[in-house]
């Protein structure tokens, strides 16, 4: 599948990735090549095959809905790049 310039821009927007204008042609080529590679899957018919969710067909374990962690807010926030008064800082969202 060959991607055009707007496809790459759209994917980058969906992925929330800023990419340089000048890099777009290279992404077009590289991503198109990768999609050509993966489309080799289409050579085989899989209409009657069940998708595999887990290699040993294990099911998701459930646990009791109880608190297992203690509150360590300051410790867990220590690696945040911008914080104030126990809150993560982001640019203004609501005017």
């Amino acid at each position: 599948m060959a991607l055009d310039r707007s496809d790459v821009e759209n994917i980058a927007e969906l992925a929330r990735l800023a990419i340089a204008e000048t890099d777009i042609p290279q992404y077009q080529t590289e991503l198109s090549n990768i999609l050509d590679l993966v489309e080799q899957m289409n050579a085989v018919n899989t209409d009657d095959v069940q998708p595999m969710a887990h290699p040993t067909d294990a099911v998701q374990r459930l646990r009791k809905d109880v608190v297992t962690e203690t509150n360590q807010r300051e410790k867990y926030m220590a690696c945040a790049p911008a914080k104030e008064a126990g809150l993560f800082l982001v640019p203004k969202v609501i005017e």
């Binding site: 496809d7 994917i11 969906l14 090549n33 080799q40 899989t46 294990a58 690696c79």
Partner: protein, 485 residues
């Protein structure tokens, strides 16, 4: 014999006998890292002070009579296992400031035993790569020839062990990231069955494929490491609650009569003749040990690379969406709004290959494409798994090459992502099927190590280690050390 040439088993025995202390061997290896790692770049972080403190505590624990086989033994962790209080960068600019507030379960397991962590090893960024060239901290060099790649993504773990900077290191394998660097560096590496080791605290790349495992010099050492690494963990929802054997207990079992399958799709006519000969010669050793060899077929092998490059990018695009510049990791300067914060933080923080995979995955999961890509790939996984299940009805193990060639030159494949992806053609199918696989040293081509891949049935790591150990009792390949070091 110099302390750095000792295996984990020998160090464990030496500490128990009192031949040397943990502080002595830890200091010796730290000195060696300082002396040699400038040219190899296998470590991102060396924790000298903390390692010596852990060694001192281990010596005290031994004096108090509470030592285990691992107390005081030095190891290193791939820089994707979270280590409380120590940088865990995943070799990415994105996490170059990330000091986790907790330990990964695998890290905690080693701490409980009293093992000493020397530091964190280099890797491809977020474990995406086959050469260790995709590291924010620069490529790690192969000690057998420093113009060649270390392999990846666990290149630093492999190089540190090969260069005798540490006797064993943890690693992870999503598509070959333990086995391929082990092969390129003449080491023993094991990717366990999916669900054997806890993924808690491993920075996630592709969650349905990621699995932790050991890189060491011998099968015996790998067995000792797996004894610590493998555990059922409530905190990993895909961890499987299944009995864990003592992996060292069956190393010396007789392997006579074991049946080895050689998949014809892995020994194609276009396989490099020198590689094929090295691998076949190694398999002949197993025949001398009384094993029987027969051909098997894994007809969907050619679909592994295409399916992998849907599943892995799709899962990575979801997993890496947590890197948003808000809660941890790199944050851009002066964001003008929330979208700008996300886009520039991620654009600046991620390297080229990570961006490519996020974009492929985003495309594959976007509206209208899910069935054509992800659902299709999950169906192919079932076909690939069924091939192995059928083969294992007739054989005990499957053997194959690990890589199409020995370590390639640094820079040789960086401009062609698809060529780099084909590097993993022999390793990816196991991850898709969730099966365990090993790489053991099989010989050399042009002075560069070549690996033999041993593929076992689900949960049969003990049997694979037994096969590898018996091979290493009658061969010398695993004892070879790089001459440049």
């Amino acid at each position: 014999m110099s302390l750095h040439n000792l295996t984990i088993a020998e160090i464990s025995a030496g500490l128990a006998k009192g031949d040397f202390t943990s502080v002595e061997i830890t200091q010796h290896l730290l000195d060696r890292i300082q002396q040699l790692d400038g040219q190899l770049n296998s470590f991102i972080t060396v924790n000298a002070e903390q390692a010596l403190a852990e060694a001192k505590a281990a010596d005290e624990r031994r004096a108090a009579g509470n030592a285990t086989a691992w107390t005081g033994v030095p190891i290193a962790h791939k820089d994707l296992f979270c280590t409380e209080g120590t940088l865990t960068s995943c070799a990415s600019k994105m996490l170059s400031n990330f000091v986790p507030p907790y330990d990964a379960t695998v890290v905690e397991n080693f701490k409980k035993e009293g093992a000493v962590c020397l530091g964190k090893t280099n890797m491809d960024e977020f474990a995406m790569g086959s050469s260790n060239e995709n590291s924010f901290y620069g490529p790690c060099k192969n000690p057998w020839d420093t113009e060649r790649v270390a392999g990846g993504s666990s290149g630093g773990s492999a190089v540190a062990v090969a260069a005798r900077l540490v006797p064993g290191a943890t690693a992870t394998d999503t598509g070959g990231s333990i086995r391929q660097p082990a092969a390129f560096n003449g080491l023993t590496g094991l990717k366990p069955t999916y669900g054997r080791c806890s993924r808690w605290g491993m920075v996630a790349y592709a969650s349905s494929l990621d699995q932790a495992g050991p890189i060491a010099r011998t099968a015996e050492d790998a067995a000792m490491m797996l004894n610590v690494m493998a555990s059922f963990d409530e905190k990993d929802s895909t961890s499987v609650d299944i009995e864990k054997p003592d992996y060292t207990a069956t190393l010396n079992s007789d392997i006579k009569g074991k049946v080895i399958g050689l998949p014809k799709e892995f020994f194609r006519d276009d396989l490099d003749p020198a590689m094929a000969k090295t691998v076949r010669d190694a398999i002949a050793e197993f025949e001398k040990l009384g094993c029987e060899v027969k051909e098997v077929s894994l007809p969907n092998t050619h679909l592994a690379v295409p399916a992998y490059y849907v599943v892995a990018p799709a899962e990575c695009s979801a997993n890496l969406s947590r890197m948003d510049g808000v809660r941890f990791g790199h944050r851009c300067e002066d964001p003008k709004d929330l979208n700008d914060l996300y886009k520039r933080s991620r654009g600046e923080g991620f390297g080229a290959e990570v961006k490519r995979r996020i974009m492929v995955g985003t495309h594959a999961l976007s509206a209208g494409f899910y069935d054509a890509y992800y659902a299709k790939a999950q169906k192919i996984r079932r076909l690939i798994k069924n091939d192995f299940v059928a083969a294992f009805e007739n054989v005990d193990y499957i053997m194959a090459p690990v890589t199409p060639s020995p370590a390639f030159k640094i820079g040789e494949k960086t401009n062609d992502p698809v060529a780099m992806y084909m590097e993993d053609i022999f390793t990816l199918s196991l991850n898709l099927a969730g099966l365990p696989g090993m790489s053991i040293p099989a010989g050399a081509v042009n002075g560069l190590p070549v690996g033999l891949q041993i593929i076992g049935n689900y949960w049969n790591e003990a049997g694979m280690l037994n096969m590898a150990h018996q091979f290493q009792q009658v061969t010398e390949h695993h004892k070879q050390a790089p001459q440049t070091i």
